[in-house]
């Protein structure tokens, strides 16, 4: 056993797309302990509810994170609607789910690309990001934005997707599916990929439940928890939904869960488009949330369960807005998974929890 050495990792590091600092305590090449330090991205945006009214804050909410931007505006709007007792038209609920699942497709493909980059498979990274551009093209055609859409409002959505565009989405997704299957084979069957990921960064079912992990990170440790199976909003009308789980609990399992979830999301979008009802896309929302009224909501973001809480004070501004984002949950499991891994695998383990630091710190 060698002497313990501390290696600082981040916040600016080639493999880290986002600023996170870790003090890695290593003995020889094995990581004994990882001590995270966060706060590089903290903006303090929850406090902005005091100066922005509940309609304006939706644009702040969606800038919590640029990858799951739609999910945050969706979760915030849903919470405020519960707070004020607003019934959202069914078509708007379906449209929200379509955009939300499209965000998951783009987020997971983006992540697969970053994972490929982390284990040194540059061409696969490029292929993933090329495929992702086609999802962004759908966003651009239907909302006008590539990253931030500003398409949700309290009471519904701002824009409709007409029948021709819906048919176009189906056509594009079919094309993506064909190309995606090839990429997925590279991730799940390539022996060099398996050498880097199988057995690395193991997290047991007990640890995952004790540390209350969420999202694909938990599902890869066999925790069958997915908010979508609760059937909130239009998810309730899905004919069938089973969370994708894997029992292995290693980096490979996390990759596999996300890889399969892309196909699952595409299926959900196709089902939603086939069943979408006609009608209004928004209702007018008047008045302010009542003093002391409280509401909460959970949304399955690409990275896992995100919890929203809001309290009104009788004015246009909310008294309190609180989000608990998936990565702030998952950091505890990441530290656990890092213990005992090789120094060279650290980047792989960090990436497989799909950290979103700007969500975490807000």
């Amino acid at each position: 056993m060698g002497k313990a050495t501390i290696i600082p990792f981040g916040p600016q590091h080639p493999v880290l797309p986002e600023p996170l600092h870790l003090d890695l305590v290593v003995e020889d090449e094995k990581v004994v302990e990882a001590i995270p330090q966060i706060g590089f991205v903290h903006r303090g945006l929850e406090k902005l509810v005091e100066t922005r009214d509940y309609n304006q804050f939706i644009y702040v909410a969606e800038r919590i994170c640029g990858i799951c931007a739609f999910g945050h505006s969706y979760g915030y709007a849903e919470t405020v609607e519960r707070l004020m007792g607003v019934e959202v038209p069914e078509r708007a609920q379906y449209l929200r789910v379509i955009w939300h699942e499209l965000s998951r497709v783009h987020s997971h493909i983006l992540w697969l690309g970053l994972a490929a980059d982390a284990f040194g498979y540059e061409s696969l990274f490029m292929h993933c990001w090329r495929l992702r551009e086609r999802v962004l093209d759908i966003f651009e055609k239907t909302t006008g934005g590539r990253v931030i859409f500003s398409v949700v409002k309290v009471g519904g959505v701002v824009r409709d997707i007409d029948a021709a565009q819906l048919a176009e989405i189906i056509r594009v997704l079919e094309g993506i599916k064909q190309d995606y299957k090839q990429i997925m084979d590279a991730f799940l069957k390539d022996s060099s990929v398996m050498n880097r990921t199988v057995g690395v960064g193991y997290l047991s079912f007990e640890d995952a439940t004790n540390l209350s992990m969420v999202g694909p990170f938990a599902r890869a440790s066999n925790v069958p928890y997915d908010v979508r199976s609760l059937g909130i909003g239009a998810y309730g009308s899905l004919s069938d939904f089973e969370p994708i789980v894997d029992a292995q609990g290693d980096c490979y399992a996390r990759m596999k869960v996300r890889a399969l979830e892309v196909l699952q999301s595409i299926d959900i979008i196709e089902e939603m488009i086939a069943r979408i009802p006609s009608g209004d896309i928004a209702v007018a929302v008047k008045g302010s949330p009542a003093d002391g009224a409280e509401a909460a909501c959970v949304v399955e973001q690409p990275r896992g369960e995100c919890y929203y809480y809001a309290r009104g004070n009788g004015s246009k501004n909310l008294e309190r807005m609180r989000m608990r984002t998936p990565t702030s949950q998952n950091l505890a499991g990441m530290v656990k998974a890092l213990e005992g891994c090789d120094l060279a695998d650290v980047n792989m383990v960090i990436l497989t929890i799909d950290p979103c630091i700007s969500c975490t710190e807000r």
């Binding site: 080639p14 902005l48 640029g66 700007s358």
Partner: protein, 147 residues
């Protein structure tokens, strides 16, 4: 500018951005926009980089990191503020933990606005940055001759 005298390498640091601009910076390097075909490479080493792409605004925690990367970069160097948060802190300007745009920490040469900044805007800013890089490099050479 009719031609570029060199292929700049870029370094990217995420100040306190929401990731939106970061993925657009990466998207500009990847197929679709593909500036790598002009030899523009994303490096993690400040000493290798000519252009510093900063996304997101500056806060107490990251101001020293941004300054450290800037100081480590070798002259001539160009700083591009990518996205409205890097330019002026945008929607977060009145957050308690936000000091302001990147120019509160280091000198900025080109501002690329947008929320999120579009890859086209980043490419345009890098082209403008290249011209500035050329000028700075000429000035450096002249200074050396004079000395």
């Amino acid at each position: 500018m009719s031609y570029a005298t060199k292929s700049p390498w870029v370094i990217h640091y995420d100040g306190s951005s929401c990731n939106g601009c970061d993925i657009e910076v990466l998207a500009a390097l990847c197929p679709g926009y593909d500036v790598e075909r002009f030899g523009i490479i994303n490096t993690g080493n400040p000493k290798h980089a000519d252009i510093f792409l900063v996304t997101g605004s500056i806060n107490e925690q990251n101001i020293s990191v941004v300054q450290e990367i800037y100081n480590q970069m070798v002259e001539p160097k160009v700083v591009i503020a990518c996205g409205i948060c890097a330019c002026s802190a945008g929607i977060f300007h009145d957050c308690y933990n936000v000091i302001g745009g990147v120019d509160k920490a280091i000198p900025v040469d080109v501002y690329a606005p947008g929320c999120a900044v579009r890859p086209e805007a980043i490419i345009d800013a890098v082209v403008q940055g290249l011209a500035i890089l050329d000028e700075k490099s000429k000035a450096l050479k002249a200074q050396k001759k004079g000395a």
